[in-house]
Symmetry: C2
Subunit: 107 residues, 2 copies
């Protein structure tokens, strides 16, 4: 998932797909690389669940799947708020115990 979003080309592809579905060659058009490379990126995106696609005739149409995006968002959000809560507690602790916290407020 994060692996899939790690590559800038793939992020571009996701951004493009957020503007609407696209065929493989439409996706490839703005990118400075072969169709083959784009297809390989697409495979990674599909494996990660970020993108789905179906073939109709000879053209494959791709679109994003927000489920995966949602879960990545949740992962980050949970970690972030966890830390921010901790940070608040630390603030409160420091306000009450003004000096020499030789043993920190671990846990």
């Amino acid at each position: 998932m994060f692996q899939a979003l790690a590559d800038p080309t793939r992020r571009l592809m996701v951004e493009r797909l957020c503007d609407g579905p696209a065929s493989v060659s439409e996706l490839a058009a703005p990118l400075q690389m072969t169709l083959s490379a784009v297809v390989q990126h697409l495979a990674v995106l599909e494996e990660s669940g970020l993108v789905r696609s179906q073939k109709q005739g000879r053209v494959r149409t791709c679109q994003v799947d927000t489920q995966a995006l949602r879960s990545a968002e949740r992962w980050i959000s949970e970690r972030r708020t966890l830390w921010e809560k901790r940070f608040d507690r630390l603030g409160a602790y420091l306000a009450e115990n003004p000096e020499e916290p030789k043993e920190g407020p671990q846990t």
Copy 2:
């Protein structure tokens, strides 16, 4: 950023740091690899802005920086809602134009 979160070990380290600051060796303790490897992961996390650290005496203490997490979260969230809005519009369109959308509602 996403690059940094792409590695499972680094995600573990971030999770650990969300429970509170830790020294390099505390961070390394639960991981089945050398201190050296952990330090290298740490460097990636610091470059990405996900983690900050400072050295006091001979021990380096690390903590997460929510700024970076926040911006990753925003990126995902923006893309996701963008797509979901589009999806809603498409639903409305289909409800009003029941047949043969030979030219899709692109844009």
